[in-house]
């Protein structure tokens, strides 16, 4: 415990906030520079963390632990392992890129970037926290800036979307908190420490585990989101400004999935086994239902939002399998969904900035007008569709392959979902890029350099992980293996 790199990563954005607050409101350029610098430093620290991380060891690394509230045995406990490392990296990366994409936010930039940086700290803290209380604090810290970011800088129905998002998530997190408190009072000695609770996980009675699991499930399910708790997502995504949609899809949804990996599964393994079949069914419903609903969309952003619902289904499926392959696929899918859907939202924003519409029916033939944009959109759409050679395929493939030995019928239904997925993605491509040109857009301008800067890294990662996916498995594999060992899947 020599160099507190995790605290440094988590609180670099807070330093950024202080710096931004010190700048006069009118100096927007400086504010942007500071915010970019703060997220950039966090990104560099994240890359440093990736380099310093020991890939052979699946246990917690860079642990920091200080007593915080002694009376309740609450500690400030941070740590990173294979489960959270990719999420932390995803967060710092997307925050940096979305920060660059935020330059064109209209009005009140100072407030915007303050809230934005606070959001980043909240998300990073959630992924790094190893104490349930700390976890909950960070979890809630995410909510508030998000509420304002949607509610102030959002689209026409921003108030509705922001309130819906806030209340829905808050309702979930109340149950989650109840679950945490129940765990605290049942553990002996009373503790909020995740690692301690994992050690004593055998001691919980099955009935208690089931109740707590369901309470946590509600909190996480709303965040993921799992059908039928998903309806806040399309509204929030559509109304939020582009960079916030990116973070919402790229990182916030992962907090729910991560909760299963970090808390529900290792602490409540028996209940997880008990709930595997329902979770698999919910996963396949997410996949198929999300795809069908996405197919009916004519709003570009809403389509991408529902495709998120569909993609997160693979996470659930992989989780439900409780096999190493499936769990690896699920975790991998979370990362890939972050990069691919994040990219998709950026692309929606690029088009929206130029056309001020998201109506898919009003596009057409743009492929010939803006070939670079068309190329990027094609790559990301294909990634989202699950084309081999891009990262999305590998993770979906793994989670399906891992689930097949456990739930054959469910997997078969899920696999048939890829046809619908292909259909709506191709319809999207056709409506935007192909066909005769809509003359309204004959003067549309090509994607600019700043937008390219935000998209190219994501594309590079998507390609790299698609072509050489085992690199990601080296990173997360040992930790997932430890988790599977602890949970002892259905097959054993």
């Amino acid at each position: 415990m020599n160099f507190p790199i995790l605290s440094l990563i988590a609180f670099t954005p807070i330093a950024g906030i202080l710096a931004v607050l010190a700048v006069p409101k009118k100096n927007e350029k400086l504010i942007r520079v500071i915010a970019t610098a703060a997220t950039g430093i966090a990104l560099l620290l994240g890359i440093g963390l990736m380099l310093a991380y020991n890939y052979r060891d699946g246990a917690m690394q860079f642990v920091e632990k200080y007593t915080w509230i002694k009376t309740f045995n609450i500690s400030y406990h941070l740590g990173v392992d294979g489960l959270s490392l990719s999420m932390v990296f995803l967060t710092v990366l997307l925050c940096f890129l979305a920060c660059i994409a935020s330059y064109r936010i209209e009005g009140r930039q100072k407030e915007y970037f303050v809230l934005y940086l606070l959001l980043e700290t909240g998300m990073l803290g959630t992924f790094l926290a190893l104490d349930l209380f700390l976890f909950y604090v960070f979890w809630e810290v995410v909510l508030v800036p998000m509420y304002f970011l949607i509610g102030i800088w959002g689209g026409p129905r921003k108030e509705y979307a922001a309130i819906k998002f806030f209340l829905y998530t808050l309702a979930g997190s109340v149950f989650m908190l109840l679950g945490f408190i129940a765990l605290y009072f049942t553990s002996n000695p009373h503790t909020f420490d995740i690692l301690e609770l994992q050690k004593g996980s055998g001691g919980f009675a099955i009935g208690f585990q089931q109740i707590v699991f369901m309470a946590l499930f509600l909190g996480f399910a709303i965040k993921v989101p799992i059908f039928p708790f998903h309806t806040w997502l399309p509204d929030a995504h559509v109304e939020a400004p582009t960079p916030i949609s990116v973070l919402l899809a790229g990182v916030l949804l992962k907090m729910g999935g991560y909760g299963f990996f970090r808390i529900s599964y290792p602490i409540l393994p028996e209940a997880a086994k008990w709930f595997a079949l329902p979770l698999a069914i919910l996963g396949v419903v997410n996949i198929i239902y999300g795809a069908f609903v996405a197919m009916a969309q004519i709003d570009f952003k809403k389509l991408v939002a529902y495709s998120s619902v569909s993609h997160m289904g693979f996470v659930l499926l992989g989780l439900a399998s409780m096999t190493a392959t499936g769990m690896n696929g699920a975790l991998f899918q979370m990362f890939n969904h972050g990069t691919i859907t994040g990219g998709m939202f950026l692309l929606v924003g690029v088009l929206y900035d130029r056309t001020h519409t998201r109506d898919l029916k009003s596009f057409g033939g743009l492929g010939a007008q803006i070939p670079v944009y068309a190329g990027l959109l094609t790559v990301f759409t294909m990634g989202s569709l699950g084309l081999p050679g891009l990262s999305g395929f590998v993770s979906e493939f793994l989670s399906l392959l891992g689930t097949f030995p456990v739930f054959q019928v469910i997997t078969i239904i899920a696999v048939s979902g890829i046809v619908v997925t292909a259909a709506y993605h191709l319809m999207l491509l056709q409506r935007v890029l192909l066909g005769p040109l809509n003359v309204r857009w004959k003067d549309i301008t090509e994607i600019n350099r700043r937008e390219l800067v935000t998209l190219v890294p994501l594309m590079a990662i998507t390609l790299f992980l698609g072509l050489y996916p085992i690199s990601m498995l080296y990173l997360q594999g040992p930790s997932v293996a430890m988790l599977v060992e602890k949970v002892k899947g259905l097959l054993v």
Binding site: K164, F292, G435, P469, I470
Partner: protein, 639 residues
């Protein structure tokens, strides 16, 4: 001699990267990049082949993914089958790209076209070299997406964009089966490698094994456009003709056949699966052959012919004719590529695809016409051209399998094949032009030279599997099925020739001599049959109303369900909370606050009465004072 087979796909990949990134700068040079890359691939393929004959096999592998704790090693599999495919793909691919420089010369996305072609070459060559199911699935999808890009290459046309989409989605349906089959193989054996297939085939669970085999075959059904997923291939003709030649005739559509051949140890162990394969194949061959009789679009005739020939190969594999099927795959690749390129040359010359508008262009496009007729003779099975030998092998293997229904249908189909090909030839190249302004002209040399090279192959490639070379191919690519004893080989050979001759003769009689072979009365009686064929057995319509519309509706209603019910519940919860808060608000206002106000009101009421004493009249006050005084005095006195 160099032996680096793993480099074979990498050259086109580099060409793709160069063309996609620097396409604008390269301009026309992008064609050179792509052609150079595939020439290098072809050269390496030949060297790999020579090395293989000498007994040296190079191999390479690296860990790509972990599944079930064990790494999946990506590597290359160089054996007889993959070498044959490598040669076919790289040689034909190179020729077609040379041809494309002429055919696509005026296109504004010239470099993009070659980028996609190179990507396809990379994917196809990798597919052929794949050593495991996972790898083949990946490249299987990649060739599919290349096909999608190239079909909708002229995407400004809605029909092209739709055709690309249809092709991708239809083949994806088959891929679902392939994926599940693959997962089952994994589940049954834990090994994705083709080299383990003979061991996997020993698995005692025959039902699962058969199911896995049939599911894998589903992938082939989609990719090789077999019934009932054949509908995409005719539409795919919207793409540029070189694409049709390379992807939708010679190589990608043959990938399905290749897959079945690659998994032959599995299929051979599951007789039920083989029966399915055989019947799907023959139904496809027959059905597509009949449709081809009536179609008038030159490329669509060839497309149905391709479907039919692929059905032939599949049926041959299903009947145990491993060598026959793969042999036909090879010969067909050459002459069908030639046919498509020839058709492209014709289209290039006359700017129409409708054969009813063509005619008499033999004299104007001599090389194209001659090579096209050579290819037609080859596909019709006229000895000693390539198609004759392979088709004969197929018929022999079908006969030997003892399944005479399949044999009979295959024989009929071969008559149809000869007929429709020569109907096409006679209408297009002979007679008089049916359209006044048909200014046919011969294509440039970059297009005719590949035609001639392919014509050479179409004539002679069949010899490698003929008795003239002691059936060298049969010994090279073999599944150890041995020689088909029992089948009267000579008789079948004669019958096969007869089939071709009959078909050509009927076409000659109908379209050159203009004989009315069929009486008017019979024609009228069978109008319905013609209508049925013209409408392609109404398969598209059936799919539209039975699958596509219901899915679109389902999607629409899912969204409504989502918006109204699921989100409705959320919103109603919100509204209900608002209502509850309204109720609580009024309770608070009237009951809780009412108590507080009530106390105040009571005081107010009492004081309201009491204050009336305050008349403001000084004399009243005085009176009260005195009255009070008197009362006090009086009370005191009484006491």
């Amino acid at each position: 001699m160099m032996n680096y087979p793993y480099l074979i796909p990498l050259f086109p990949l580099m060409a793709f990267a160069a063309n996609i990134l620097f396409g604008k700068k390269l301009g026309k040079k992008s064609a050179l990049v792509s052609i150079a890359a595939s020439t290098a691939s072809a050269a390496l393929s030949i060297s790999a082949f020579v090395n293989f004959l000498r007994g040296s096999v190079a191999s390479v592998s690296f860990a790509w993914l972990n599944v079930n704790g064990a790494p999946v090693m990506f590597g290359i599999l160089v054996d007889q089958l993959s070498l044959m495919m490598l040669l076919v793909v790289s040689v034909i691919g190179t020729l077609i790209q040379v041809y494309s420089t002429g055919y696509m010369s005026d296109d504004k996305r010239f470099s993009r076209f070659f980028a996609y072609m190179s990507l396809f070459m990379f994917s196809m060559l990798s597919l052929v070299l794949s050593n495991n199911f996972m790898m083949i699935y990946i490249f299987w999808e990649l060739v599919g997406v290349c096909s999608y890009f190239l079909i909708s290459f002229w995407f400004e046309k809605d029909s092209a964009a739709n055709a690309g989409k249809k092709a991708f989605i239809t083949t994806r349906i088959g891929d679902v089966g392939l994926f599940i089959g693959l997962a089952m193989i994994f589940w049954l054996s834990g090994s994705p490698y083709f080299s383990d297939l003979p061991a996997i085939a020993q698995n005692p669970d025959r039902v699962l094994l058969t199911a896995a085999a049939i599911l894998i075959f589903c992938g082939a059904v989609g990719k090789s456009a077999q019934f009932p997923l054949h509908v995409w291939l005719p539409d795919a003709m919207e793409g540029p003709t070189p694409v049709s030649a390379l992807i939708h005739a010679a190589t990608m559509v043959a990938a399905g056949v290749y897959l079945v051949a690659r998994c032959y140890p599995l299929f051979a162990a599951c007789p039920a699966a083989l029966v399915v394969v055989a019947y799907i194949g023959i139904v496809t061959a027959f059905m597509a052959g009949t449709i081809a009789l009536v179609v008038n679009d030159i490329k669509r005739i060839l497309a149905y012919s391709t479907i039919s020939q692929l059905g032939y190969m599949i049926a041959a594999l299903g009947c145990g004719g491993y060598t026959a099927g793969t042999f036909h795959l090879m010969t067909h690749a050459f002459f069908k590529a030639l046919l498509f390129l020839g058709a492209g040359s014709v289209i290039h010359g006359v700017h129409t695809q409708d054969i009813r508008q063509m005619g008499g262009i033999f004299s104007k496009m001599k090389i194209t016409a001659a090579t096209f007729i050579i290819a037609s003779l080859a596909i019709a099975g006229v000895p000693p051209l390539a198609g004759f030998w392979s088709k004969d092998e197929i018929l022999v293997s079908m006969f030997a399998s003892g399944n005479y229904v399949i044999f009979g249908l295959a024989y009929l189909t071969s008559i149809f094949t000869a007929f429709y090909m020569f109907r096409l030839c006679f209408i297009v190249f002979f007679g008089r032009p049916r359209k006044a302004d048909l200014h046919a002209h011969e294509s440039p040399a970059v297009m005719t030279v590949p035609l001639m090279v392919l014509a050479f192959f179409s004539i002679f490639i069949g010899l490698v599997g003929s008795p003239l070379m002691h059936n060298w191919f049969g010994h090279f690519v073999t599944f150890g099925e041995g020689h088909h004893g029992g089948a009267p080989a000579g008789l079948i050979m004669g019958a096969s020739v007869a089939a071709g001759v009959i078909g050509i003769a009927i076409a000659f009689a109908l379209y050159i001599l203009k004989w009315q072979l069929v009486p008017q009365a019979v024609r009228i009686r069978f109008t319905w049959l013609h209508t049925l064929l013209i409408n392609k057995y109404y398969m598209d319509e059936i799919y539209l109303s039975a699958i596509i519309r219901p899915i679109a509706l389902l999607s629409k209603y899912s969204f409504r369900f989502d918006k109204n019910l699921i989100d409705g519940v959320v919103n109603w919860t919100g509204l209900f909370s608002l209502f509850l808060s309204e109720v609580k608000n009024s309770f608070d206002k009237h009951v809780v606050d009412g108590l507080v106000n009530g106390a105040a009101k009571l005081v107010d009421l009492c004081s309201g009465h009491a204050r009336r004493l305050q008349t403001g009249l000084i004399q009243n006050y005085m009176l009260f004072i005195i009255a009070g005084l008197v009362i006090i005095l009086f009370v005191n006195l009484i006491r």
